[in-house]
Every structure is written in structure tokens, then in C-alpha cells.
Assembly symmetry: C2
Homo-oligomer: 257 residues x 2
């Protein structure tokens, strides 16, 4: 069997997220359907990040096992020809037989785009959340930096979460400013459900002056969902990149060329 690694970009606006759900259009569901049709066998994809409904990706990674001898370049082109234009296969690579897109991810990077006040264009609207009134970017940068490290993120995921271990390591957490547009960039070894959007909701509260940057410590220490801010809207979020320790590719099967 071959193990193929796909790098994927998508505009998530009209989809019900990554994960297969009966009767809903999902990224995983559409990809599995098109792959199965092309290869003449039932394909099951493992995705690195289970992006929510409305969330986008520039560098989602998924893998699947197949016996089909199709070259990677042919697979990428054939798949792109069959996919809706919101979903694009950026690269196809041969991976080692044990490679797993989720289990082997060293870190994932998400980006979240905010605009403070009016002046946005309809070109950026599907990828940008507009916050009314000014945002204190300096306070947000301060708060963002305080999120770094190995922490218990219980306060930043739904209270009814079934996951036991809510300790994750954030190795990058920063706010970039370009005029009225702010971009939050965060890298971690793993993310809990709604974690990035709850971090952003909390950073917005900081930017509005409702929460002190130093309060990040007590919000984390509370281990209580009610301590953090609201879940920010999905449209501002992009899964930017997934990184792996050891390059999973044993050979280029028809990459981005």
C-alpha cells in the first residue's frame, strides 16, 4: 500500500467544516468522495486539523492509504478538476507507511484576521471579522505573548469537552498590525475544540479594554470556560500550516510544480 500526503487549501465559507457528517457538505466528505471515484476504491482520509464550519485553510494536511498506482501529479490534477473551486489540492507527496497527518504533526499554525472599524472591502469580507470601535493592539500583543508555553487550556474549550488532557504547548502567539487590520498568529503542538477562536475572543476583550493583559494568567489558572472570552466567528480563521518533525515524504509524487 502507498501512503499519500495531501496538502490542501480551502475557503470554508459554505461547508460544514472538515469532518464527515451525514447529509452535510464537508471538506473531508467531498475529498473522500472524489478520491474514491477517481481511484475506484473506498478512500478514508485522516486530516491534521478538524476545522469547524466556516473555517478556511491554506495548508491543511491529510493522508490516505491506496493501492492505486496513479502518479501524484496525475492525482493532484485529476482531483483538482473534480473538486469545487473552493477546495484545492496544493501538493501530493509519497509518505512513509506509518505517517499519520494528525498524530505526527509537530505543530499547527492558525491565523485569525480582524479589522477594527469600517473600511473593509467585500473582497476581504469572507476572511475577516469586523470589530466595531478601536482595538488596543499593544495590549493584545502583551496578552498574546502571555499565552505562550505549556499550559492547561481548560478555560479555552467547551466545558462539556470529552478530552481529558487539556494541556497544550503554544510556541508562537503574536498579534501583527497593518493599519486597521490585525492578524493573530498562533502555533501549538495541538489545539482543543474552539481553542483558537476562544483565544481570539479573549484577545478582542483585551483590545477593547474589558480585560487586562495580565489577567491571562488568572484566566488560564481558573480552568473554567466562563473565565475566558466568547468564541470569535469562524470566518476570520485560517489553518495556515502543519509541520512535521521528520519530512514524511520518501519521494515527490507530483508536488506543487
Amino acid at each position: 500500500m502507498r501512503n499519500l500526503k495531501l496538502t490542501l487549501a480551502y475557503v470554508g465559507t459554505r461547508f460544514a467544516g472538515w469532518q464527515v457528517q451525514p447529509g452535510r457538505e464537508t471538506i473531508q466528505g467531498i475529498l473522500e468522495d472524489r478520491l474514491s471515484g477517481m481511484l475506484g476504491e473506498k478512500v478514508r482520509l485522516a486530516g491534521a486539523g478538524r476545522t469547524d464550519a466556516g473555517v478556511h485553510a491554506r495548508g491543511q494536511v491529510a493522508n490516505f492509504l491506496t493501492a492505486a498506482p496513479i502518479p501524484g501529479i496525475g492525482l493532484r490534477r485529476g482531483l483538482n478538476a473534480r473538486l469545487p473551486e473552493e477546495i484545492n489540492v496544493v501538493a501530493v507527496e509519497e509518505a512513509s507507511e506509518t505517517f499519520h497527518a494528525r498524530a505526527d504533526a509537530r505543530w499547527k499554525e492558525y491565523r485569525y484576521r480582524l479589522r477594527s472599524g469600517e473600511g473593509g472591502t467585500p473582497f476581504e469580507a469572507p476572511f475577516t471579522v469586523v470589530v466595531h470601535g478601536p482595538l488596543d493592539a499593544e495590549a493584545m500583543r502583551d496578552a498574546a505573548a502571555r499565552l505562550c508555553g505549556r499550559r492547561d487550556f481548560t478555560s479555552f474549550c467547551p466545558a462539556q469537552s470529552e478530552i481529558e488532557d487539556k494541556v497544550r504547548t503554544i510556541m508562537m502567539s503574536e498579534v501583527l498590525e497593518e493599519g486597521p487590520v490585525l492578524e493573530y498568529r498562533v502555533r501549538a503542538d495541538g489545539f482543543l475544540r474552539h481553542m483558537v477562536r476562544t483565544l481570539v475572543g479573549t484577545l478582542i476583550a483585551v483590545g477593547r479594554g474589558l480585560v487586562e493583559p495580565a489577567s491571562i494568567e488568572s484566566i488560564l489558572a481558573a480552568r473554567d470556560r466562563r473565565a475566558a472570552g466568547p468564541v470569535a466567528p469562524a470566518r476570520g480563521l485560517v489553518l495556515e500550516r502543519v509541520s512535521y518533525d521528520v519530512p514524511p515524504a520518501t519521494g515527490d509524487a507530483g508536488g506543487a510544480g
Copy 2:
């Protein structure tokens, strides 16, 4: 009566173009409907450029007469709250009573975005036309420059056009290159129906080596639609800006602030 000048941005993908058509969703139709609802009077808009179905705008201009005393800023905000997110009012200004968005335009600038080969993302797909195979950007630049000046553009508009005078002046016609992405920028005192897209279709033929840059002269001289290239797809085209000789504003009625 007040004469209000609107600057508009829109993503044209799902609309049947600028101009009102019975039973179709058009930019002008939606704007007139929302304006009429807000102001409690029948509003008729004059637009600077009649963009085709699927064409976008960053700086379309329109004007309308109204007796309503609403401040410009309130009009802009109220209208944006009522419009679909693909359409945005960028600015509202008071214009002189004789100002007419189309008749008074000194020039309009359109931009057209092409990608040669694969590698595009779904984020840019709605605004970019993918051309398979390489494009000779240098030859396209050469051909683009030859379009400048006061010329008869009969070869670049539909044969059955009802407009008598097909002489227009192009004062800017250039091809910008950024890696595999090419952008054609063109400014003229007026454009015929399908003119920009036919110029682009012809430039693509030049880029592919099917037409010599120097043939632009004979294509213009032919005054025959069959001499030029095909009409390039609408999605790559953006009405970027409309410029007026004398600033039409007699005062800021609630601009972009």
C-alpha cells in the same frame, strides 16, 4: 434636491452585472431597492461603468438625486447594513447638482488578473483567470503599450454594437508581473462593451505566441471583430477607479472615515 455620489466596491460573482434587469439580481437593482426603502422615495442610480455579469469593482461610482435630508455617514452605514456582504458603499459625498457619474468621468481604470499555470489558491480563484501553459509577459507588455492613444476600437467590441463612435483614448495600458500572476491595467476615457475583456483575450493570444505584438496595429486597423482575440472570462476583471476632472464633491457627506 441633493445630488449624492457613491463610491462602491463589489464582488460580482453571483450577480447579473451592474445594470437593472427584470427578474435578475443586479448591483444597480439591489442598490436602488435598498436606497428606495431607506429614503422612502423611488431612487434611480446612474453608474459610471456598466460592469458585466461576474465582473467586480473596487471603485465604481454612481450618483442619484434625493430630497431626503439624511447625513451621508448615516446613509452609508444604513445602506451597508442592508446590503449583501458582496456589495459595499465605500464613500458618500455631496456632488454639484449637475454631476453625472458616467457623463462626467474623465477616465476609468480596469484591472484584469491572470495566472499562468497551476498553483493558484481558492482564495484568489474568484478574481483570477488561470491560463494553461506559459505566457510571454514581455510580448504582452509590448502589445499592451501599442494599444495606447486615440484609436478606433471597432475590432474590440461586438459586431452588432449599436454605438456609432468607437473611437476611444487609452492613456494607460500595461502588464505587471509578479511571479506567475500577471495583471493588466488599462485606463481610457471610455470603454465599449466587452472591450477590456477582448483586449485581454488578445493579449493572452500574444502571450501564447499565437499573435505577434506588432499585429496590434493591423488588428486595430481591421475594424473587424474577427481580427481580435476572444472575450476573456468576467471573473478576472475589476473596475478599479473612476476619475473626474473637477472634484464633484461640494462637501463631505460622510466619506470613508
